[in-house]
């Protein structure tokens, strides 16, 4: 078994406390980063090939570099802990079991981007993670790690609770929500690094992304890059759920194959049944068939099959699953969560849900499938944020890869 880096504390009792975190080597990365020039930290992170682990997979160091050089404006570090991508649950583990890893990562990132104030936006439903993380923040203040007067840093953390809206996981929607508004995404440019929260340069990073920083600083960029593939360094936390024998969070190098995650790490399919389909990166990722699982689970592997690694939420489906029924559930989700700002998304998600619903109810029409595909393809790329593109991934892939099943259902007029 490969070395655990991000999940090393998950089964350590009381690892959420500062004492136990420190006993395990915690805050050594911050101790080292304090002695580094901010630009050197950014350079190290670029060399590590760390990619954003929330969904978009953008190189983290490059993102930091978008803050205008020499800007004297306040800069904010915003943590996206609004975990909501269906099939994903790894950030919850960090918040609850290793909260100081996030705080330490924030301290390092804040030094790199010259931020004095950070916000951690935790989804409203995550009450327990919010409590545990807030207690860790208090401990960090009491220990002199946080606060305006700390030498080498001087960084404050505000823990902010959301109130239930998937769209707030989109970084500009999150910023709107943090500003006390409905969570409508904003037109880019300007990008948050130039004009973000409260009008100031803002870096939004995912929980797990920031938790990678202490080991990168402690053990070096080359070591981290060497754990992964050519274009992405490190290990990551895969959330595996559905019809596997052992669902859960699996940490593995990003070179791990989807097949290995399902069959080696998670014990294969329940009851030894055949695999029918698998979603590799949260519900917004295009679905894959059993002949498409011999891919590395870095940013490039799923892309080579027309899908995406996204949040690395893997949903495994065995041969008992009705794909039309699964698509109806996914379509219901996008219809419910569309924020309503852009017409193509607001209208299409609703209509496509209705069509998938009637197909599943045995009232599908012959032309429904082509209508869904047409509506999906026309709307892609026309909206302010990536939400609708995320919905289009499943609409198109479920239908194109399992068209016969949909057609048979429509012909028979049976319930799925």
């Amino acid at each position: 078994m490969a070395e655990l880096i991000l999940s090393r504390n998950f089964s350590v009792p009381d690892a959420h406390t500062l004492r136990v975190y420190r006993e395990g080597g915690g805050y050594k990365g911050w101790d080292k980063a304090k002695g580094m020039e901010p630009a050197a930290i950014t350079e190290e992170v670029k060399k590590s090939n760390l990619r954003g682990l929330g969904g978009a997979g953008f190189p983290t160091g490059v993102k930091w570099g978008f803050i205008p050089k020499g800007s004297t404006a306040p800069k904010y570090l915003v943590v996206n802990a609004d975990e909501g991508e269906p099939g994903t649950f790894k950030d919850r583990y960090i918040l609850e079991r290793d909260p100081h890893a996030l705080i330490e990562g924030m301290l390092i990132a804040a030094r790199a981007i010259d931020s004095r104030l950070g916000f951690v936006y935790i989804r409203g439903e995550y009450v327990q993670p919010w409590r545990v993380f807030s207690a860790a923040v208090k401990e960090a203040y009491d220990a002199g790690l946080l606060g305006a007067g700390v030498p080498g840093g001087g960084f404050d953390i505000v823990v902010h609770r959301g109130a239930g809206a998937y769209i707030c996981g989109e970084e500009t929607g999150l910023i709107s929500s943090l500003e006390g508004k409905k969570g409508w995404p904003k037109v880019k440019p300007p990008f948050p690094a130039v004009k973000g929260a409260f009008g100031h340069p803002t870096i939004v990073n995912n929980v797990e992304t920031l938790a990678c920083l202490p080991p990168i600083v402690t053990r070096g960029a080359e070591w981290f890059a060497g754990l992964g593939t050519k274009t992405q360094g490190g290990t990551r936390l895969y959330s595996v759920s559905g019809h596997v024998v052992k669902p859960g969070v699996v940490e593995a190098p990003v070179s791990v194959t989807l097949r290995s995650l399902i069959y080696d790490h998670c014990g294969g399919i329940r009851g030894g049944r055949p695999l029918k389909a698998v979603v590799p990166g949260g519900s917004s990722a295009a679905i894959l068939t059993p002949d498409e699982i011999d891919i590395a689970m870095d940013v490039d592997g799923p892309k080579s099959k027309g899908s995406m690694i996204g949040s690395a939420g893997i949903v495994v489906m065995d041969d008992t699953v009705s794909i039309p029924d699964a698509l109806m559930v996914v379509a219901r989700f996008y219809a419910h969560e569309s924020c309503g700002q852009c017409t193509p998304c607001r209208e299409s998600t609703g209509w496509i849900y209705k069509m998938t619903h009637r197909i599943v109810e045995g009232k599908g029409r012959k032309e429904d499938l082509d209508t869904i595909l047409d509506v999906a393809k026309r709307g892609a790329g026309t909206t302010i944020c990536a939400f609708y593109d995320g919905a289009v991934g499943p609409y198109i892939s479920y239908i194109e890869k399992f068209r016969e099943e949909f057609e048979a259902l429509i012909r028979s007029g049976a319930h799925a």
Partner: protein, 161 residues
């Protein structure tokens, strides 16, 4: 509990509102946290409470209304003493959420979105709560409960007075 028709935070709560407002570069950032406080105080957020919160931020009640109605966790009508929210998203659906929802309907005698006649439980179906490794799962007030069976659901419901 304060009177929802003439809402007014206590002096301690008002001090907390001011503290929260001071945490953000613009005090409006504290709107969501203050709305959480208001819901904790009055159980839900009425139009009167929206107007009251608007005065605390010197903003239009329409803006507060827009925010309250955008998010799923703010209740605009009185809710039950407990809220039980069953996830019906993809993994939970694959793992039997439909049966859990049907079982809840039968046990409580209400549809999702409704509250039992005795005011004990508001029953909801919700989108992914991100605990798919424990699917099917639900949220009972603050707690996540997973690996649900009808028997386990009964035990959870019995624990909610």
């Amino acid at each position: 509990m304060a009177d929802a028709t003439a809402p007014q935070f206590s002096p301690e709560q008002l001090a907390e509102v001011r503290r929260l407002q001071g945490l953000y570069p613009d005090r409006q950032g504290a709107l969501l946290p203050v709305l959480h406080m208001a819901q904790d105080a009055w159980g839900y957020i009425s139009l009167e409470i929206e107007e009251y919160v608007a005065t605390l931020f010197e903003m239009s009640p329409a803006h507060v209304h827009e925010v309250v109605t955008f998010y799923t966790m703010y209740f605009q009508k009185p809710k039950g003493r407990h809220v039980v929210a069953v996830c019906h998203n993809l993994t939970c659906h694959l793992m039997g959420a439909k049966g859990i929802v049907e079982h809840m309907k039968a046990r409580l005698g209400v549809e999702p979105g409704e509250t039992t006649a005795d005011g004990r439980i508001t029953f909801l179906t919700v989108e992914c709560l991100c605990a798919c490794e424990q699917a099917p799962m639900l949220q009972a007030d603050d707690r996540y409960e997973g690996l649900l069976t009808p028997e386990k659901v009964d035990r959870i419901l019995q624990g909610l007075a």
